[in-house]
């Protein structure tokens, strides 16, 4: 039991060890390869890194609870783009023209509502039809992307509102708005998973769905809530991101689901459900962004970044597997 305990903690803290290794590697390698004089572990650099990991990170937090719940959501990229379009487009809707900059509040709320609705629709379909979440969201990944295109054809939706940009660029205590939002998201969703009945039931459902059903836990509504939550977070991520950029391309957010899932899996969440933590995901998100920034810092090109990220994902999976096999006693099936 003791060694079990050690293994379990080792696999959850592995991602932080990995982050430390990355920091050391890029700091040292940066001395020889980097073209800038700013140290890698410079405070500003690290703050920037957190800001940059926010868009993927906020969605990854939602993906964690969905995956703990035993589901997966491949449509987050499309929801991200759709919420972005609603945010920017509604800023200039004539019905809001009388309220000045308050339109920002309204637009943000509209964007978040869009995310919740699209997420909830996924959840409702999973709940009511019983079709596997992978298939449902593979479908809606296409379907929602279609909706994004229907909104404005293949043209981008743009609306540069400087008040909004200033809000996005603001810093409170030296920390960017995006980082605050990311941090609060991590904290709140962590509290939900640790301390609320809904959060604990989400784990129970992912762990042993039959047990949960037999115990009278209403599996469907919990899944609906989690899909609505990830929809909300995808929209929140869009708000954070597009507030600072002001233009949505209909292709935006494609492949986000893959990066998000990569971060969540690196953070130790099991695909089968029932196990995983928000803090682990935070580690996964930071590890990926470190790798990206770090490889850029030492001058590696896109192809290296792709290669390294892909291989690391497989290596992590391999190590995790080695930690979990029961050695020679395992059945060879």
């Amino acid at each position: 039991m003791n060694s079990e305990f050690i293994k379990r903690n080792l696999s959850t803290s592995a991602i932080w060890l990995f982050i430390v290794v990355e920091l050391i590697f890029f700091s040292v390698a940066g001395q020889y390869l980097s073209l800038t004089d700013v140290a890698f572990m410079d405070g500003g650099n690290m703050l920037l890194l957190l800001k940059q990991s926010a868009p993927i990170g906020i969605i990854a937090v939602g993906m964690t609870i969905v995956m703990v719940n035993g589901n997966i959501d491949l449509s987050v990229g499309a929801i991200f783009a759709m919420a972005g379009i609603i945010l920017l487009d509604s800023l200039s809707w004539s019905i809001f023209s009388g309220i000045g900059d308050w339109v920002i509040v309204v637009s943000v709320l509209l964007a978040l509502t869009t995310g919740v609705l699209l997420g909830a629709l996924n959840g409702l379909i999973v709940w009511k039809t019983g079709v596997d979440a992978f298939i449902v969201t593979l479908g809606s990944m296409l379907g929602y992307r279609g909706l994004v295109f229907m909104f404005n054809g293949e043209n981008p939706t743009s609306n540069l509102n400087w008040t909004l940009v200033d809000l996005a660029e603001a810093r409170f205590l030296g920390v960017h708005t995006a980082t605050w939002v990311f941090g609060l998201t991590v904290l709140i969703v962590w509290l939900i998973t640790r301390y609320t009945v809904h959060g604990r039931n989400a784990y129970a459902i992912g762990d042993n769905r039959n047990a949960a059903v037999n115990a009278g836990i209403r599996v469907g509504p919990h899944m609906l809530i989690n899909f609505a939550l990830i929809g909300f977070l995808a929209a929140l991520s869009a708000v954070v991101f597009y507030a600072g950029s002001g233009s949505v391309n209909p292709n935006d957010g494609m492949l986000y689901e893959l990066w998000v899932i990569t971060a969540v899996v690196l953070g130790g969440t099991k695909l089968a459900g029932g196990s995983g933590s928000i803090i682990g995901t935070l580690g996964g998100v930071i590890a990926i962004q470190l790798l990206r920034t770090g490889l850029g810092y030492i001058g590696a090109d896109t192809s290296t970044v792709n290669l390294v990220l892909g291989l690391i994902l497989i290596v992590v999976l391999f190590i995790d597997r080695q930690l979990n096999v029961k050695g020679a006693q395992e059945l060879k099936v």
């Binding site: 491949l74 039809t129 019983g130 596997d132 192809s303 497989i314 391999f318």
Partner: protein, 323 residues
Amino acid sequence: MANLARKRILTVMGNQGILIAFVVFMVIFALASPKFLSLDNLQSVVRSSAILGVMALGVTFVVISGNLDLSVGSMMSFSTIVVLDLHDKLGPSLAIPTMYLMTLGLGGTIGFLVGYLRLNSLIVTLGMLSAIHGLTLTYSGGKNMDIDDKAGTWFSFFGQGEILGLPVPIILFVALAAFLGVLLAKTPFGRKVYAVGGNSTAASFSGIPRARTVFTCYLISAFCVATAGLIQASRSMGSQNTVGQGLELEVLAAVILGGASLLGGSGTVLKTVIGVLILGFIQNGLLLIGWPFYIQYVITWIIIILAVWLDISVKRGKFWATI
């Protein structure tokens, strides 16, 4: 009584649902555009579906064996780039087998990781999607690959040639489908694929080599990807590094549409072919009636969910899930 009648309707729709959908779409498009049912158009649909279709054939094996392959898109870019590059360096007759070997090497790596090391296929192929893309970019240096002497090579045969008036991509697609269809349905190996996908533990307890079977499925998938890359390269005689990007999900959509369960153990080659053709005809039909391509996304979404929903409704005897 009403119960039984409903169940029968469900069963018929579940078993033939995908065919019914197919016919319905054909009728709608035929009414909307007179050109839709012309021989030329039908041929062009099949030809343009050939690349997706060939890849879907391989993924069908992987899915039936209970795994996923998300790396086929970037692997296809890899084969295309490699064969184009080697064409000018080694000549077509050496370039093609070399490309096949390299692609099979990638497929074998995935098969080893998923089959022998028992790593989760979703994550492995997700990682490989990214890694192979990086590999392709490193290989090509990010450059487009083009065959220098386009007129003086027989390489164009695979993508542009014709035999007895039939385009070669169609012939390759049909031949591969027939071969793999028979392999899956009629041979001991095919039976093993179903057994491993249906219940890998029970398969092992029956002496079926689970790892080797899964490994072979990934090799078949890689072979199909290499063939798709060959058609692609030969069709355009030049290519960008991102040519296969995003195809993995379209391929998976076609396979699911054809009725293969992601849990493994069910699906057939013929149904996958129908799934591929449905996607192809929707795409083509929408173009002909002048609707933008993205309407196709929405329609695909709806029919995928309806198709799978119908299928599981039949199995549980109820439309709505009770969870």
